[in-house]
């Protein structure tokens, strides 16, 4: 089942929740809708679920008009952010609900309902919890019941709204892995909404990054991280240092860091450069191009150390990541003077009023280091 979303728009009274969104979801795909709150990701999910509607645009499901069918006819499984379990029904009855409300013609016989619920309980590892009420379960257990309930109706499409949002950090990681395995087992087309980039990067086959009702970029987690398409994606995914480059004697430069190449052939006067912390190289000896900096702080975070560097010539603090084992090898300590130079950056040219020309972005890699 391929879902084709084209030109979806949805306005609320004071803002555009969705602004001309088009997207294709392939069968069996695991897609993450990622964005900050208010980016329209939840609205998009609710439109797919039939709980909201679009002002314009269409959704086609293998040449069928998906939006014309009601929520009950779409064959979707939806897991709500706060699960929306029926509080007056046991876990068993919650899972059986979707089967029991079918018209007599389509309703499976009692024994089959029982067997199906039992096997789902087993699948979500809650075999002994069938007679409990939702209020007697932990957050992680409720989440799994909600998932089992959604799966019971054998949906063509599984939708999850912030599936791990209400859970502890510990449970979250466990459940995440478990959900990924479940998806690989079932091969069910799955779309989930999250504001947590780590979750999206770890789980999804493809990530849809959204901002202010628009899609910023669609791609594999690797693409999103390595080749961000817009400044927003650069800043939203992972940590990044932001540098404003100007043209100086024909070369783009910021301070003492000067680029020899110019794919734009002097068309743009300035550019925004985004440099990830792991792409900042540190050295004690002065390089050909780069800044001198003072090491402010070292934050040891397990295998990686985050380093704050103050570059006086830019009046800017940069963050660099180095492997913890390199700290002593390079003799790094707070207060020392050293040199720093980017090894890779994503550059967006800017026209005079500051607008970035995103389609002309340039993934720059230093010649001396082999690009990844």
């Amino acid at each position: 089942m391929t879902l084709e979303l084209s030109h979806l728009s949805r306005r609320f009274t004071d803002f555009a929740a969705l602004d001309d969104v088009s997207l294709t979801i392939d069968p069996g795909e695991f897609v993450a809708l990622l964005g900050p709150s208010g980016s329209g990701k939840t609205t998009l999910l609710r439109i797919l679920a039939g709980l909201d509607y679009s002002d314009s645009g269409s959704v086609r499901q293998d040449d069928r008009d998906f939006l014309a069918t009601s929520a009950r006819q779409r064959k979707i499984g939806l897991v709500f952010q706060h699960y929306a379990l029926f509080r007056h029904l046991t876990v068993f009855e919650n899972i059986a609900f979707g089967l029991r409300v079918r018209s007599r013609r389509l309703r499976p016989p009692r024994a089959e309902v029982k067997a199906r619920v039992q096997s789902l309980l087993k699948r979500v590892q809650l075999e002994d919890f069938g007679s409990r009420f939702p209020s007697q379960l932990s957050g992680g257990q409720r989440q799994r019941v909600a998932l089992a309930r959604a799966l019971a109706v054998e949906p063509d499409l599984l939708l999850l709204d912030e599936p791990f949002g209400a859970l502890d950090a510990q449970v979250r990681v466990t459940l995440r892995r478990w959900l990924r395995e479940l998806h690989e087992e079932l091969g069910l087309t799955t779309v989930f909404v999250t504001h947590d980039q780590e979750e999206a990067l770890e789980l999804a086959d493809r990530i849809v990054v959204m901002n202010r009702g628009r899609i910023e970029q669609v791609g594999t987690p690797e693409m999103i991280y390595q080749q961000p398409a817009t400044p927003f994606v650069c800043e939203f995914i992972g940590k990044v240092n932001r540098l404003v480059m100007n043209r100086d004697q024909g070369h783009l430069a910021v301070g003492n860091w000067i680029l020899d190449e110019d794919p734009w052939h002097s068309r743009y006067g300035q550019a925004l450069a985004f440099v990830r912390p792991e792409h900042l190289a540190l050295s004690v000896a002065p390089p050909l191009s780069g800044w001198s900096a003072r090491l402010r702080h070292i934050y040891l975070a397990g295998s990686v150390a985050h380093i704050d560097l103050y570059v006086a010539s830019l009046d800017q603090t940069l963050e660099a990541d180095v492997a913890s084992e390199d700290l002593s090898r390079l003799g790094l300590h707070a207060g020392m003077e050293l040199y720093v130079v980017p090894r890779a950056a994503t550059l967006f040219p800017q026209i005079r009023d500051g607008t970035t020309i995103n389609q002309d972005r340039w993934n720059w890699r230093a010649a001396s280091t082999t690009p990844t």
Binding site: G50, L51, D52, Y53, A71
Partner: protein, 274 residues
């Protein structure tokens, strides 16, 4: 709002509006229409009549006083029921709703029997020279009775949800108990207290059943406005009854608007601190 996801919007709203229109709005329209029949001059003539004025003054005056008394005693009772543990607390808590549950006519004759000059309380009070039944004081007693639960029941949930931390913070800053109460607790209770006051007031102004028995209904002295309406009706003065009713409604309405504004003003910090 083209399609709605949950079903039944049209039918539920349509039914509710039709029902409300037929049961409440249409009759009220008839009231206003009938009242307008006597004209402005007639209205002034009616309202300026000494007997009407006396009745309105009694109704609104006693209702205000009763609501004030209820605000004070209701605050105390709510405080005691929420903050202290003592034997029989739950029983007394349940008892607070009695004026809601007891039919007004029953309350009326019971209060009269109690406060009549030969009644249990009435004879004792009479020995002090205080007459309750068949005087404006009796009207007040009945109005306090019917309005009592409102203040307690609006305050209780707020008192229960009050953050103890705030009080402890006040005490840790050196505030005495009464200072904590006046400066910290009371301002937080103010919106609920005003709501309870308004509800008690509205109820007391219109109260009929429990008042007419104990009031004695002496014209110019202990005759309440609703009784005047009934009397006009019995004399087939429909326009007069309607006009008096409309005047009472308007008056209550203005009062409630004022109190709603006060309430909004006193709770203006609520959203900011949460």
């Amino acid at each position: 709002m083209r399609h709605r996801i949950l079903p039944g919007f049209g039918i539920s709203l349509g039914y509710a509006l039709t029902y409300l229109g037929l049961i409440v709005l249409l009759p009220l329209a008839a009231l206003v229409w009938k009242a307008s029949g006597i004209g402005i001059e007639g209205l002034i003539h009616l309202l300026a009549a000494p007997r009407t004025l006396a009745a309105l003054r009694l109704s609104f005056g006693s209702a205000l006083l009763a609501a004030l008394i209820n605000a004070v005693i209701g605050l105390l009772v709510a405080w005691v029921l929420v903050r202290y543990r003592f034997p029989g607390r739950r029983l007394f808590d349940a008892l607070v709703d009695l004026p809601f549950a007891l039919p007004t006519a029953v309350a009326g004759i019971a209060l009269t029997a109690l406060y009549a000059p030969n009644g249990w309380l009435g004879s004792w009070l009479a020995s002090w020279g205080i007459k309750v039944a068949y005087t404006p004081l009796g009207v007040l007693v009945a109005m306090v009775f019917v309005g009592f639960p409102f203040v307690v029941r609006t305050l209780q949930p707020v008192l229960e949800s009050l953050d103890r931390d705030v009080e402890e913070a006040a005490e840790s800053l050196g505030a005495r108990r009464w200072q904590t109460f006046l400066r910290v607790i009371l301002p937080m209770l103010a919106p609920a207290l005003l709501t309870g006051f308004a509800l008690a007031l509205a109820r007391a102004v219109g109260e009929y059943g429990s008042v007419i028995f104990i009031a004695g209904n002496i014209p110019m002295r202990s005759e309440i406005a609703p009784l005047l309406i009934v009397q006009k009706l019995e004399q087939f003065d429909y326009a007069g009854a309607a006009a008096l009713s409309t005047a009472m409604l308007l008056f209550s309405f203005v009062l409630l608007v004022v109190i709603t504004l006060l309430q909004r003003w006193s709770s203006r910090w609520m959203e900011k601190t949460r």
